[in-house]
């Protein structure tokens, strides 16, 4: 501690060490938050349901997605990534997941909303298994904290069924 340089060095080293501890504590404080998010997805209409030239089924639908993810946000949350996926079972694969819509929620104020949209990404099956298929719409979310570990969870909504015939 006898010179300017040594004191500056000691101070910066100690300050950064404490900064790391503070960030760890901020990350740890997220454990005290117990979120209770809610979500609801309605399939308003099936606009198109066709077999493509190569034999794959494609569906176009209009969705009404409403969610309240405000309880996911803490002071250590940077943003939340959400996506709605159609999940169904086929003889070949026990789980097929197709992302239909996604979004990035930047703040707590924007975390409660309702959106009326057609599917953002194409709903195409690898094959022709979709006629009369029962499927789940699952809201997945990934919480991206400012410091610490990313976490993910989901809400599964069951009981959706595609029409029996192409249209």
């Amino acid at each position: 501690m006898h010179s300017f340089g040594y004191r500056a060095n000691a101070l910066v080293t100690f300050a950064v060490t404490i900064l790391a501890i503070m960030c760890t504590m901020a990350s740890f404080s997220d454990n005290f938050n117990s979120p209770s998010p809610t979500a609801r997805v309605q399939v308003l209409s099936i606009n198109r349901f066709q077999k493509q030239i190569h034999g794959n089924d494609e569906v176009t639908m209009t969705l009404n997605i409403s969610m309240d993810l405000q309880s996911l946000f803490t002071w250590n949350t940077k943003q939340v990534f959400v996506f709605v996926a159609a999940e169904y079972e086929t003889p070949k694969n026990s789980l097929n997941q197709i992302s239909l819509w996604d979004g990035i929620i930047p703040s707590k104020e924007n975390a409660k909303f309702s959106i009326h949209t057609s599917n953002k990404y194409r709903f195409i099956d690898q094959g022709s298994n979709l006629r009369g298929k029962e499927f789940n719409l699952t809201l997945h979310w990934h919480v991206m904290p400012k410091t610490g570990k990313m976490s993910a969870d989901k809400i599964v909504m069951t009981g959706y069924r595609l029409p029996v015939d192409y249209r």
């Binding site: 501690m1 006898h2 300017f4 004191r7 500056a8 000691a10 101070l11 100690f14 300050a15 404490i18 900064l19 501890i21 503070m22 504590m25 901020a26 404080s29 803490t74 002071w75 250590n76 400012k146």
Partner: protein
Amino acid sequence: MDWQGQKLAEQMMQIMLVAFAVVAFLTGYVMESFRMMMLVYACGVVLTTLITVPNWPFFNRHPLKWLDPSVAEKYPKPQPQEPVVLKKKPTKK
């Protein structure tokens, strides 16, 4: 900066940084603002730097008092012969 000043500077630096860290964390947690925590802590680090890094006069209140050369000459250096006798004592035991 003298010896007492160096000790004081190091202690002040550590205590101030920890204190600012505690204040910053509590402020940020209560206000639910990560940015506020960082701002408070950054201000604390800057303030601590200004106080403990430059060589302020109050770090130099205990200067070392060296003997005047004329006084030192009156007391000649001890000759390095005595330790040889002392070294033999432990071996006898």
